[in-house]
Amino acid sequence: MVWRVGLAACWFAFFWIVRDFQWSVVWRTAPFLLKGLGVSCLLTIVSVTLGMLGGIVLAAARLGGAWGVRHIAVAYIEIIRATPQLMVIFWVFFTYPALTGQTMSAWEAAIISLSMIAAAYLAEVIRAGLLSLPRVQAESAKVTGLSPVQTFIHVLLPQAVRNMLPALIAHFVMIFKITSLVYMIGLTDFFRATIIINNRDIAPYALYTTMAVVYFSCSYGLSFIVRRLDPKYTLVS
């Protein structure tokens, strides 16, 4: 009983404090911030989609490739996973002009670098998902006459996806948080939009609180949905 009163007191204190923030700035610039949020979401979805394709290729190369192919896949995965994400973005942004002599737009650099990062992380998730299936699946598919590609697409991948759904969502959330790094190459995502507004109308408390609330609700909401889908799926990083 006492703790409910204490919890209500905490909520009242919170709303009393945030009452003095300049929320008018947030309401006024909401369309611009929402556009930035849309850019973040679009970047995440495109990168995770391309990263899934790349991750499947890398996982397949790592599990069943020829001698040299396997090592290249492992080297790619380990290097991308050990390098800071901002460094990967810079590396992609600087490599294309060095190789072709033309500049790369911020959108292309963001999508390519985020897809490369997503592919490296998702390759590990997919590999773990494929390895979690019992061998009998692949063997019985081979016995019934399915080709390796057919086995992979129709038998192994659907079951593996069901197993690795929590980890997939966790990495989706991770990529969503990484999109805040495209600030450095000039792309206006949600983070950069908030900073631009803050530089123009100085309302740091309201804007940063909004940014924290939006990022938290998107990330936590996604992982909460997975937890509700099936109580078995609890996310442990």
């Binding site: 901002l86 460094m87 600087f94 948080k177 983070f191 900073i195 408390y205």
Partner: protein, 213 residues
């Protein structure tokens, strides 16, 4: 490919490396301390402390690092380097707290109850019995978290700390040899990561023979 740029800027890259190592070391120390405390709270019994720890972990895990760095630099008003260290510490402490709490869950409850019966106080049990076992158990995920600290230190360049990623940007803006600079800095980051991973696996091998399993 003009790789001589790297030799030309070797002192700048060396200064950047020193700053990155300083940032990472301070943040690793801070986040390990805070994370262990919060993780121990989160694994205990009781009503408020585990829930407070859970709220801390979930709140700080779901906010990007850049938001925290900018918060401590622009809103709280600290200097660039301290705001970077504090932001990295709070960010990674949430992840490390989660790892430590899961490590506590893996230890049998009989350890705690047996030590209690023998008359040890809670702090003695924590310090001499539970935490040593926890740290041996969680060595692999903890290595990943420490490498995450090194990787997240690169975002502190956004508020002006002149560490390795900043130097890449600097070399690109001064000589347009960004590709060579980015490759060299990537190799340097891989070396730092390798050092951290080797140190942790050395600790793991050294602790393996103490019979804690």
């Amino acid at each position: 490919m003009h790789w001589s740029v790297i030799w030309q800027y070797r002192s700048a890259l060396w200064d950047g490396l020193i700053l990155t190592v300083e940032l990472s070391a301070l943040s690793i120390a801070g986040s390990l301390s805070v994370g262990t405390v919060i993780g121990s709270l989160g694994a205990g019994s009781g009503f408020f402390l585990p829930r407070f720890a859970r709220a801390y972990i979930e709140l700080l895990r779901n906010i990007p690092v850049v938001v925290k760095v900018f918060f401590f630099y622009f809103v709280v008003g600290l200097d660039a380097f301290p705001s970077g260290v504090i932001a990295l510490t709070t960010h990674q402490s949430a992840y490390i707290a989660d790892v430590v709490a899961s490590g506590f869950r893996s230890i049998a409850r009989e350890q705690f109850e047996g030590a209690r019966v023998l008359g040890h106080s809670y702090w003695e049990i924590l310090r001499f019995i539970l935490l040593p076992q926890v740290f041996r158990l969680i060595n692999p995920p903890l290595t990943n978290q420490l490498i995450e600290v090194v990787k997240n230190s690169s975002v502190v360049m956004m508020v002006g700390v002149e560490e390795l990623t900043f130097r890449t940007q600097q070399i690109e803006s001064e000589t347009f040899r960004g590709f060579e600079a980015a490759t060299a800095v990537t190799v340097l980051y891989l070396i730092i990561t390798l050092v951290v991973a080797t140190a942790m696996s050395f600790l793991q091998r050294r602790w393996r023979h103490t019979g804690m399993q």
